[in-house]
Symmetry: C2
Subunit: 193 residues, 2 copies
Amino acid sequence: MSSAATVVELRVLDAAKSCCERWGIAKVTIDDIASESGVSRATLYRLFPGGKDVLFEALRVRELEDFFTRLTAQVEGAADLEDLLVRTVVAATQELRADQHLALMLASEPGDTLGQLTVDGLPRIIRFATVFIVPLVDPYLPRRESARLVELLARLVISYFLAPSDHVDLGNPESARPFITTFILPAFQAALS
Amino acid sequence: MSSAATVVELRVLDAAKSCCERWGIAKVTIDDIASESGVSRATLYRLFPGGKDVLFEALRVRELEDFFTRLTAQVEGAADLEDLLVRTVVAATQELRADQHLALMLASEPGDTLGQLTVDGLPRIIRFATVFIVPLVDPYLPRRESARLVELLARLVISYFLAPSDHVDLGNPESARPFITTFILPAFQAALS
DNA sequence: AGACAGTAAGACAAAATCCGTCTCAGTGTC
DNA sequence: GACACTGAGACGGATTTTGTCTTACTGTCT
């Protein structure tokens, strides 16, 4: 999951990201990324054998790692399970809303981007969420229940982010807390350790 | 100079403009513009025989016409020559600074865009400025002097827009007025009618 | 009804671009 | 000197884009 990423690799990924923001993934060429990162095309293929697909895969992975790294940093030191869950969904929702890169992608290439948040990408997002968040939940629940809970929350955060509701605002603690206590916690009450 | 532009033509030019903002002129294809404007490629070639070059030429012309139309509307009713000149350079500078399309182009494709403001495009800009602004100056100066004056101002506005000065801000009347009265008007004093 | 102008859809070949791989030369390190 | 890493760029093949052309549809005018 993690990265012994060299400095060159990071430069390339940064270049890919900014190219992507400028032109959208469909319009970016390997040469664009190469010249933007000041790296030759040969090097780029050596680093990411498979070309654009592999490169953007790696970029998505890095973005996810960064996302969850920031997220876990924001929610550490929660007092109890309820507090942890509320802070997690709130922070995640706010991160999503503040993500400039994501906003641009959603605006310029809704199809691909939505795929990365739903059908194609959701399983991976859930994997990442599991890896990063389950350890935080583990003190309160058996491992199996933790995984179920984290998956559920990940799905809900994304759904409410993509299509906001009139009834709940998961970016707002005052709204998220009753949502968590009413709909989520009771289902796991029996398993509370 | 002017346009018996049909509604289809306008739709196409609007589409070209928004495509251009999204991807930059280098990445836009004829098909992009065709589908964005909901017009078939055949029609597009009928309207602009010559393809992308001719189309973007037409777009630049239209942008210039719009620019100077808005500009002349803003400066009508000036009391005297000094007032006219000050209001013109101020309005032009502010228009330039507020032009979202221009800002995007300058950011994403500095080379081409700068060319359109300097070496390649400046002569045309001056022609447009002449056509639109000289009539306003004519009451005060002989025709030949008007043209010289307008050209000079056009060059100055663009230069100060592209590379702002610490000494003058042509977007600010309080700064533009002494500039005009000190450096511009005296040179044309002799020719004042 | 029939002529006609304007258009969408799409086939087609030619041109341009992009891709992925490869070689070669240069550079810095051990 | 051996070695790993890189930039530059050549190369053929795949893909995209271009510009032209044909066909069929639609509405308007006579």
